[in-house]
């Protein structure tokens, strides 16, 4: 019985302490807190964040809210009483949802002057472009060398007999690169013909999985997971990262991205000041900072995306291993907004059922 009482006592003590420990919040005096709501892939260098905090007497608080779609949904539902001052991480496939719901306050940042017009998709400047990444096919170099096979150089190639059963893609309904690749096929073949192409791909043994992790780690033969398929829908940035995170260190990337015209889709990510923010001035400073070279140069190694500010320089590994498409396939945000659900549903019926 004694032991039981001790157990209970410990339990009660734990109950008393537990809530207090993780719920520590900064004190009222001192630096002001700027809250930034983002998706789970958000990352930044410690010294870059510290620099902003020191320069603005601010304390940055980041809250991660799931994948890009989930995070945006949460921001929309908190519209009346926002959780944060700034939201970062809505991309051009979701942009229309954010604009329709009106979650952002326009901000004509002076830093926008440096940014090319092609990235600016919200005329009201509620959502400001921060970075971009290309969703491209990646291939396993060793497989194609071993089989004396040329890697495909167009979307049409994927439907050819020599690439039968070699391709793995993600489901556009559950994966953001999956949706981007679907949009690439729509951009290239047009909304009337893309379904016919997908029928051919299906006949040619394309494999569909739920998300990037399964496609890349489990199915793709060029990754550490050593799966069976040598062609995967991934990012243009994946090959340099195979070098940066190789084990043991290697000189040449085991994979490469296919960047021929009209095969990739460019995802542009935006940030904006949330309507109802109590720290508008600080939020503006943070947006300016995100567009500055200091932050923009930090982006690639932390989040595997690239700066929209042309003044920002890429490090050596990227310069050496990164291939960028000259002409990604294009679908306008207005078209995406109008047909997104319809396209995904039609794709589901043709490819999965």
């Amino acid at each position: 019985m004694k032991r039981l009482n001790i157990f209970l006592l410990v339990t009660l003590l734990l109950a008393a302490c537990a809530p207090a420990t993780p719920a520590l919040t900064p004190t009222a005096s001192g630096p002001r807190t700027l809250t930034v709501m983002t998706h789970d892939s958000w990352n930044v260098s410690a010294d870059v964040a510290a620099e902003f905090e020191a320069a603005n007497n601010a304390k940055l608080q980041f809250i991660k809210s799931g994948d890009a779609g989930e995070a945006l949904n949460k921001a929309i539902l908190a519209k009346g009483n926002p959780l944060a001052d700034v939201f970062y991480g809505v991309d051009n496939t979701y942009l229309s949802r954010a604009m329709d719901e009106g979650i952002f306050e326009p901000y004509n940042s002076p830093a926008l002057a440096d940014i090319p017009e092609s990235f600016k998709l919200d005329p009201a400047n509620g959502a400001l472009p921060v970075d971009y990444g290309d969703v491209c096919l990646n291939y396993d170099k060793a497989y194609f060398a071993e089989h004396n096979l040329q890697p495909p150089s167009s979307l049409e190639d994927l439907a050819k007999a020599e690439y039968k059963d070699l391709v793995v893609v993600e489901n556009p309904a559950t994966s953001s690169p999956g949706l981007a690749f679907l949009l690439a096929t729509i951009g290239h073949f047009g909304a009337e013909n893309y379904l016919g192409y997908w029928k051919d791909l299906r006949a040619n043994g394309v494999k569909v999985v739920d998300g990037w992790e399964t496609a890349y780690n489990t199915e793709f033969s060029g990754s550490a997971g050593k799966g069976p398929r040598p062609l995967v829908v991934s990012y243009g940035s994946s090959p340099p990262f195979e070098v940066i995170y190789a084990d043991p260190p290697i000189e040449d990337a085991p994979t490469a991205a296919i960047v021929s015209d009209d095969t990739c889709f460019r995802q542009i990510e935006f940030a904006g000041i949330l309507k109802g923010s109590q720290n508008r001035d600080l939020a503006e400073k943070w947006i300016d900072f995100m567009l500055s070279t200091r932050f923009q140069e930090d982006l690639p190694l932390q989040m595997y995306v690239f700066p929209v500010n042309p003044k920002a320089k890429l490090n050596e590994t990227f310069q050496k291993y990164l291939a960028m498409p000259d002409k990604p396939a294009f679908v306008s945000p207005a078209d995406i907004a109008a047909h997104r659900e319809e396209w995904i549903q039609a794709w589901t019926d043709v490819v999965l059922h």
Binding site: N73, A78, L83, V209, S221, A224, E341
Partner: protein
Amino acid sequence: MDSSVDRRGAALEEKTKDEGRTTKDRSFTSVLRRPSFVALLLPTAFLILFYFYPLASIFQESFARSKAGALAPFVFAFTSPSVIKVIGFTFYQATLSTLATLALGLPGAYLLARYRFSGQSLLRAFTTVPFVLPTLVVAAGFNALLGPRGWLNLGLMSLFDLTTPPVNFLSTLGAIILAHVFYNTTIVLRLVGDFWSRLDPRLEAAAHTLGADRRRTFRHVTLPLLTPAIAAAALLVFIFNFTSFGVILILGGPSFATLEVEIYRQTVAFFNLPLAAVLSLIQLTCTFGLTLIYTRLSASLSLPLTPKPQTLIRRPLKTFAARLGAGLLLLTLVMLLLAPLGALALRSITRLEQPPVTSGFTLAYYQELSVNRNNSLFYVSPLQAIGNSLLVASATVVFSLVLGLSTASALIQSGRRSALLESLLMLPLGTSAVTLGLGFIVALDQPPLDLRASSLLLPLAHTLVAFPFVVRSLTPALRSIKPRLRQAATALGASPFQVWLKVDLPIVGRAVLVAATFAFAISLGEFGATAVIARPEHPTVPLAIYRFLSLPGALNYGQAMALSTILMLVCAAGILAIERLRVAEIGEF
């Protein structure tokens, strides 16, 4: 027979108790003084604040967004063939998975309950480990074993000189069922095994003496006594399978969809909140209906018994046949539950090179875990991540035990009228994590309850899942206490709290440990982690694993495997530690 006498006795006691209460119930103040009412205050407040209120808020918000009126999404759902197909598949795979889990779990429970063999507690601890593993990690384990380049296929290919992998396991219904068995067998092993290990062996001995053979004894004595525990375990397993998400998405692939998967798809891909709300309601109604049927049944099934200490019951494996049977069963359990874990652990210390696939031993992935290469703000050392996970898990254990114990005690005291209440308590388990997560955002947004970005929300969300579990593992044990014991204590002058402390708690001590283990495991495995907003300053182990898996590069994949192995070991160690906390055994009064 002993048990039927007991049953009649119990019925009599129940009746006198009820009569006593009806006379007392007349005045309102006496209601307030009733121990069951007081005990239910805290759990009720908890559920209303963190469950019903957020859920109602998100439903209200969702239906308000329906342009064609609140009824339209219902009409659409019930006339859409694809939605009906999804509902059908959800039931179908959950039923198959539950049956398969019982088929493996029940013999395993028998073995663990009735026999003594070396390595038993290790086996118990490690069979719980699957419960905490993130789905992506489990998928990696199954892939290493049964995938196209897994051991099985590589072995068969070299054995029969094949050029293509003969076993096509991933993206099949079989993969879904096997993964569910992998995850949930521990529920049967623990809930049923524990109850079984305390059944008075004299009941069976008496049946033998009266001439019943082993089969008859099992059918007429053991099985009826076990039924409440089996039903409780089956219900929990079914609900987990019914609301399955990650397993369906990742191991089943895009051609399978359960309600939970469809809710996610409608919410995230289509932002069709009205339809998502209808699907959520359908899922809830099914869970509620099942639980209601179960509580009705179990109330009439459960028998008051005097549990016996395990030491009296467990016996060594003596005969050759017993050893052979036990050996085969253990082999199956190990193959199914432990082999994928082993494959992961092996992968975390193996470096694969290609082609051809050769391997070498390495500790690089473990070493890399403590390096912050890019000076990332959110880098977390493995020790910190474990610390964060353990902190959240301890808070979850405490919250859910406090809530669960008071609820279970109150349920027992208030007798049969509680079927509805008991079913309501199970609802959080059957609730879509996606829906509830949005509910938190909509509802908990005003001080003093602006918890949307609070770190406290994480243990609270875990408690929502763990707490029904605790109630479910405690009620069969509490029901088995003979009311006589409580009445005797009361007659000797004990207050209701003293009765609870001195009678109920010691007898159910073991069940409390089982409950604590589950609460611990549930929290460590981050059930429904998507439901709440994470503060990246305090990442837990599963979040750190997800982070590594979402990046290209051999080093990242290796680190994910290494951290998963660490999570398995922490979980096993935690469970062994909880089991060492020996609450006063029955018979040690």
